[in-house]
Amino acid sequence: MPLNVTKVRADFPILKRKIGGKPLVYLDSAATSQKPRVVIDAIDRYYREYNANVHRGIHRLSEEATIAFEQSREKFARFIGAKTAKEIIFVRNATEALNLVAFSWARANLKPGDRVLLTEMEHHSNIVPWQMVAKEKGLKLDYVRINDDGILDWASFAELIKQSPKVFSLAHVSNALGTINPVKEMAREAHKIGATVIVDAAQSVPHMPVDVADLECDFLAASGHKMLAPAGTGVLYGRQDLLENMEPLMGGGEMIKEVHLQSVRWNDLPWKFEAGTPNIEGVIGLGVAVDYLSKLGMQNVREHEKDITKYALERLASVKGLALYGTKDIEKRGAAVSFNLGNIHAHDLATVLDIQGIAIRSGHHCAQPLMERLRVPATSRASFYIYNTRREVDILVRALETARKMFNI
């Protein structure tokens, strides 16, 4: 059943906003998504009716909060096909999830001289933690090259995998180019040589069906706020046996079973990794967001985004002087579209569009190595989600024409 976008839009109060008298056209969901009323209400209800700290509380409010909190974990586990909710660790964002793997798992399991394989299109969050651990442990970082269409070059991958990296960590979908990487096929090759496979799924979990068993990944990082949930929510999925053998990164309350003056016993999974009071309302909101998306159906979400992205690529190609980055093959890309218009600086373009109520993102998209590879200082990025319409694409295109005239190109 295709997405009923009119109905979806009615669920998002913010979409009624006007910017300088013009209706908001929100095309920045790859940065963070807007939130449906059910999520906002869930947060509101938590604070009005059962605000309490989770776990160990022997009173009604704490029990209710704990149940709601842990239900979100079960929901998320089902949503991405984890075997058990123990494999779901709540963190602040996908960045923290990747840092947790790098600083806990990789730091303990990699030796000087070991190689870590990344790709040229990674977000800084999947580069910088590895650089930090590499410096400390004496690791070598390699990067799978991309071709001019923004697709990972299989020959480069095949060559680098021969160097027997201990880790292969890659984005499922590029935040800057929208490319969907063949994670499953690459994970299979990486596993053949014994590498641990980590998937940065911040840009895929909100937009398409993602199943960790199908992808055959060992770890997966996702971010809640990009999938209708509140900010400050992220998830690290890890295979149970890997997580069991990992040391926690942060110590404190919640993550212990018993503490003595000279010794400590860690708590069980998943709480071993969740020191301190968590983002309770955020995680409860994440559970509601998962329900909302599940009800829409992730395949329907994907189909809607394919339709709007295909339309956007066609319409944008008609704008004189507009350079599009990334593949045109709709099967191989998600709903983030990067472009530059003539020699207009990406920030100027974003400001001109903002004047017309259109929110896009411009800059290096936390992917400076990719920008260097594309030989541009910055790009503008329009990213679509369940609430965006073809009409909004038309508004974007009209605004780009205005910008073109304004800057005489």
Partner: protein, 133 residues
Amino acid sequence: MTKGIYKETILDHYRHPRNYGDLPNANARAKDSNVLCGDVVEMQLRIDANRIDEARFRGEGCAISIATASMLTEFAKGKSIREIKKLGKEELIRLLGADPGPGRIECALLGLEVLKAAIDGGQDPTGPEELDR
């Protein structure tokens, strides 16, 4: 349609920057960049008796950074060093005739900072950024 910060004067200075290029007899210069957006501005000045006789700039970047640098070279000519040093965000917005807003004010401030740096110390305008790409 409202053009916001992109008033005709600003677009004109962006398309046709004034005082663009090298100043052969410059005795003060500075260059800086805004790493986040890749804007680079270099100022070359001729200062005599605490007064700016000539100002030229070279730069690369967004319309706001280039237009501001261009307008500042016109503004600076004939002004005393003290007058330039007193310039702040408010004066800059007045000079531009529009407020770029919190997200873009840094683009405008780059030119002013470089102008002040040239007056202050005239650092050697060499750096990792290449102007001629």
